[in-house]
Symmetry: C3
Subunit: 401 residues, 3 copies
């Protein structure tokens, strides 16, 4: 019986890991559909190769930084058969689950810098981010490293609350992506005297990517409880309502544009991560709806007014909606607004801004170094040919040529 | 340990909810692949926006009508942390699970009225159906509202049996869709002196939609047990065999046509819902095979002989195969045919026809009102341009234009 | 409580079955994307119809050969409600789970013989393989039929170890596919004086198929434990690392070619099946990386040097990487290499080669008979038109014609 209970947690976390893993397919197809046809193959290859290198970086370094666990024991000890680690390999599935979160950060960045990034430098950067930059803030927020959470609790009454990663994953990913986009510069031909908007290649693939992300997201949020005994149906319902709110708001604010509607679902889900375990469902609905509007307005503002060539709008989607989610957990988590309490608006603002700023600054430094010493940008000619032929020597529909 | 047991049910229902949620992606891509290219974006946007409005309508009204539960308590009470509702938010996940069923009804209708329905009136109709029309029959069949099930049992020896919704979801959805199709009229150019069949745009997307539906369907059927203690492997096996029967029969009757083969899988799954918990696997195989033939014959008959422009064939698929499933539960559920017993053929016929007729009549009234007071049909010119450009101002492959 | 524990196992195996079932969608789209446009519909229809016939063949014959269970009892007995079989239908879900494995064999073959096989003969062959050929080796390896495993253990110190089917499913499928490819001959125009390589039609669909396979594969491997009490996080982690190793190695060896990168993920997963429960994660990483290189080199060697027209490269992918996986379980499973022990390199070599040889020879006999008495190859003219129009009377994008 005990083995069934432990096995149940292994099963529970495994399903979460599989769901979040499937989101990476979603990242690939969302990017594939949003970029121009000549960059579709590149979108797919970047995501899956980034995922593989991210997994290895997190395995060898990152997980150890965040949680102090290293994987150099024997298999018997790792799986608990010899008394080491958690029994039945529970800690190994926990690693799998968290690795799929970590790898989401390069996947987010990938969408921002699409169509003009060199391939292997991007892969190397992914490994550095997942191995070194991400685990530091992850460990501070989720594992209490360096006592910062304890200090916030004693000084300001509550630790920083980020249940499923509005800040740790999304705002951090958005901040890193913004830095990368600024360092890479806009795609050739996008702005300037002859600049023009680049249209997406395929709404069906964009939509499929979104569906895969939405479906997997319920694992992202609900399985963040990390054990069956701690699972909460409230997290599931709040995720559902925030997603619905994001869709509805983006459909109205975005005039039923398919890109806005589908990304609106994601906006709601990004924003609900942090407080999904403490907000009232009606609060989650509002949080998601606001996020939908943030994305629609933020996307146009970033690309058209600020002339920042963030191709998929990952800064508004993950950065701004993530920040909103971190702060919103401190508002709608309050008991006065029907929430479960235990959160502080001030702590949420401090924590949210700190992590996003850390990620942005770390990203600036990393990509500045990459630009200076390695070269991270495809040439104008390579961009004209398209990343598919320039990097991968094959287009998305090879038979047609 | 108790928390693990409750958590297990939360987990179980959550996986069911995620699977049925993923079916909505399937509805989107099945419709996208079946309509003409100029209506692909519209198919996708309709499904996801319908889903969002359906969720809200069911949250605020529908679930309360069917199960008497309202969600205006505080988060602590909702999630059971303060002693209210089921512990660990079990009732909230149950809501999620059943909301994905409810939202399937507008998704079914969407496929029937594709290519010519106005957008916002369709969304409003979806909300009305999920908030008011669907929950009434759902509550009667599944929650025993109004004592009709008790009366059937005392008067005719058995309550109406519809384990996973052949009737409550599919025949009702099919009946509503048939009414909507009749009220909207055929697509411009489909029939009449210069009328011609409209070919599907993409078999790969049609197939992907089908696969997503088939995969999610195992959650639809098996998780209808709603608790791990009540789960039955028989439901899973019967679903598998009915699906296989539908594929085989449709492949033979439909001469290996890809539309028939893929929809044949769905036909088998529609028909097996009602009796999957009481039929012998061989009975399920027969039920699915018959459904496959019903779809192939019914599709051509509806579109070509009756000249009813049901684009995806949702009346034969969900309506006729659903009705067959409701009746078949009363036949193949009998112990004489290897079933588990406890069903009555007469009650199954009465219940099946009643719910389908109720849905059809309610649909006629609703869409007649919509046609009279709002306008629900795209103009000929809008249909000629395509719903994508007319409604969403963008085509499925924007870069190509 | 007991019912929850049994229900938990039903749930656990069901999730595994659903995941492996979803892999069949992956097989369909991987083949669809790799073949030429005029054969896309055929790829999809073959996979789903093969799946249906395979399920029936395994239900009526195959499962009985492998495990001695027949399904002709009544539903009450089957589901355990009347005391027969496992309670709550556990044995029925086990059938479902194992049926999705069995049906993978024809799906593997389908990719090798794509673009030139007659439809109904292929379907009949699938049924014969799943009903008769596959269950014999399956029963020997996994159910100890005929005492061969017991004899290996007593004679050589360890039974043949194939946890999740590197050999039973993949090497056997690859061996059968190689025989089928040889018996069918190359596609018209592929080799010879005017021969030329045929390019894939769609990298996005190829990639989607791969993602569906990778996602489902975690059910293939982890749920092979067949009970929650026996589940091991080590299997999940090893699968993850082998996949990552396969991607990284194929990306480097294959120069970031999208076909190699995506198939590299699958190569790692094929190879890790056998020893995923006994290897150290670092061993799994090496096994996956080697498999990635085997696929890249083996694919070109098979198609270009040996002039064997294995369209998707299923012999290198499932055959060679499967064989490597079977042998690797005997190497990296050793305690000296950090593994859990209990394996013998010699036994692994004997078992792996025996099963692959059996499958290859059985395939030669079966397809030779088919070629002699039925005819299994499309005519040159049918191939020129494409299997879609020749067999299914419709193309993948019907509206365009």
């Amino acid at each position: 019986m005990d083995q069934s209970v432990i096995g149940l947690d292994v099963f529970f976390l495994l399903v979460g890991a599989i769901l979040v893993f499937s989101m990476h397919g979603g990242f690939a197809f969302l990017e594939l559909g949003t970029v121009r046809s000549k960059n579709q193959v590149n979108a797919m290859v970047k995501i899956i190769v980034d995922f593989a290198f991210s997994t290895l970086a997190y395995f060898f370094v990152g997980y150890w930084i965040a949680y102090g666990v290293s994987f150099f024991a024997g298999a018997a000890e790792l799986s608990g058969a010899a008394g080491g680690f958690a029994p039945q390999g529970l800690s190994l599935v926990k690693f799998f689950f968290l690795a799929t979160f970590a790898a989401a950060v390069p996947a987010i960045i990938s969408g921002g810098i699409a169509e003009r990034a060199k391939f292997w430098p991007q892969v190397a950067t992914a490994a550095l981010i997942v191995g070194l930059i991400y685990p530091l803030s992850e460990g501070i927020v989720w594992n209490g490293n360096y006592g910062i959470q304890a200090w916030l609790k004693s000084a300001l009454g509550a630790p920083f609350h980020d249940f499923a990663g509005s800040i740790v994953v999304h705002a951090a990913g958005g901040g890193l992506a913004l830095a990368a986009v600024l360092m890479l510069g806009a795609r050739t031909g996008r702005y300037g005297p002859h600049g023009r908007p680049f249209l997406p290649s395929s709404i069906p693939w964009l939509g499929l990517g979104t569906w895969m992300l939405c479906i997997g997201w319920f694992g992202f949020n609900v399985m963040s409880a990390q054990s069956t005994a701690a699972v909460s149906g409230l997290v599931a319902l709040n995720s559902l309502l925030a997603m619905a709110g994001g869709i509805v708001a983006a459909a109205i604010a975005g005039k039923a544009d398919p890109g806005f509607v589908h990304n609106g679902a994601l906006a709601g889900l990004v924003a609900v991560c942090a407080g999904s375990d403490v907000m009232h469902p009606l609060g989650a609905l509002v949080v998601g709806a606001v996020a939908g509007v943030i994305f629609v307005r933020g996307f146009s503002f970033t690309q058209e007014r600020l002339k920042i060539d963030d191709v998929l709008g990952v800064w508004p989607l993950h950065g701004l909606c993530g920040l909103w989610g971190g702060v919103a957990a401190g508002i709608f988590g309050l008991t006065q607004l029907g929430g479960m309490g235990g959160v502080s608006p001030l702590v949420q603002i401090i924590g949210s801004v700190s992590v996003a700023a850390y990620a942005f600054l770390a990203g600036l430094a990393l990509y500045a170094l990459g630009r200076r010493f390695v070269g991270i940008r495809l040439s104008d000619e390579q961009q004209r040919r398209g990343a598919d032929l320039a990097i991968h020597s094959i287009g998305a529909m090879p038979e047609e040529f």
